[in-house]
Symmetry: D2
Subunit: 155 residues, 4 copies
């Protein structure tokens, strides 16, 4: 991201912002010629992983080892679709932390097209580790302090 | 739907309810072994079309001809993920109208697994026709009275 | 399947045939209004699991336990696309065994629309178990005799 | 592409080669932790559009206008899956022309991971224009000479 780039208001705040550039593909669009909206939800799922990768310096697979965590399943999703997007469009997805609780966190995503906000999305996710009683199950755990610290903007 | 079947409270109201049965596929699940959540959003997209098909007796392609409409793009999406679902699970998706305005409508979906609510979702969609000024563009229009009437429960 | 139903020649042979009925969804189609072809490949992936489920009486998750197997990754895929298919189309997918080797097997799928063959596909898959040396890795193993026997047509 | 980069033998020949870099996403992988193979087929679909974009200098939507063409539906697909790929893997997809006929063309794709060939794929596609008798239908047409010329390697 260049300094001069305009960060959408939706993602401005106390946390770092990750930008992901995506070119919308033909197969992401439906017979109306616009993005089939579950594809946006896919974009935001990976954008969440990329924000955490940017913060921690670890890839998602490495995070699982570094923090002994087993995933961050989503429990709540909200999205607004404001401007249609079609194949070939180059869009930018800005992602940041919306809220931080002990074992859950909110992530906000803002997808822009030619500088205009096209989609806004907020996810709530739970930080999970493997359940000691049954390693196949997940159990909520505190977000590690190091991860919290790294998600904050360096001022 | 049999009379004795328990309709989830989330979709009870003044409107007809459609039930869609889905078996979760291997390819709908992620490396954690649970449904990749954008797939749920896909399930609900088609469940919306099926509710309207049930109400009107038309298939989606026929509705486009019968009502001169051009689609019902989504403008707002909200979902809660309560219980994990995995491949091979047989789930039921109950869909009904949440709200009706002149040119937009809300749809509620409730996905159950073994009788327990696993996912709840509400979509807001706009009833659109082709824009007379530019047939490639969509324009909001009033939901036809006939469609509104057919979405209501016959008492 | 009713006795009178015409099984496509492509899947006739010495093995049982599974039929999977699919209604093509809006979101499976692209801006040209026809099925985005990777979606057909998805249909066939699950159709493979359903053929094995029909043969063995086990669901895919149960098969993993019953046979200690860890999956049947695909190594070769071939498909012919003959007739366009669109949303709302009710199609049938017939699946059977194309070939059986010690640790791999071929599966043929034939997708029909109104009785006409629309897509033909052949997959080659390897029967795998967890590698004893590294349980995270897969290792080819002989297809169990019981599975082979159950895939054959009872005459 | 840098000069020193090793182009896989599979795509070497008389035609230009496009390279597309993809990071495999969490949601592209299945419960076995590897890419769900229809996702590879998706990658290759868009890789085909990118090869033509590179050759012609037009984006796909512009090609439709520049050449009056209406799409290049796939009629044949072949793929070999050689090495497993997982989320977070950075892969490269090299695409080139495999064959050129009057109104159809073959495209070869080679996906590499750390320099090793992981997936090879060949598609056959038909160059189509809108059918004058029914603009909703597609009709095969000759690949424009200009497109053919631009797909060839400049020596």
């Amino acid at each position: 991201m260049t300094d001069s780039e305009k960060i959408p208001d939706f993602v401005k705040g106390d946390f770092i912002v990750n930008r992901r550039d995506v070119t919308v593909e033909w197969g992401h669009c439906d017979p109306a010629g616009i993005v089939f909206h579950p594809r946006f939800i896919e974009y935001f799922d990976w954008a969440c992983a990329l924000l955490l990768e940017k913060a921690t310096g670890f890839k998602k697979a490495q995070m699982r080892e570094a923090y002994g965590f087993a995933g961050f399943p989503i429990v709540d999703l909200q999205a607004k679709f404001l401007v249609p997007v079609t194949y070939g469009d180059d869009v930018k997805i800005y992602s940041t932390i919306a809220s931080l609780k002990r074992s859950s966190f909110g992530i906000k995503h803002c997808l822009t097209k030619n500088g205009a906000v096209a989609v806004e999305c907020t996810q709530t996710r739970v930080w999970c580790v493997a359940d000691p009683a049954d390693p196949k199950k997940l159990k909520a755990a505190a977000v590690p302090d190091e991860v919290v610290a790294r998600l904050k903007r360096r001022t």
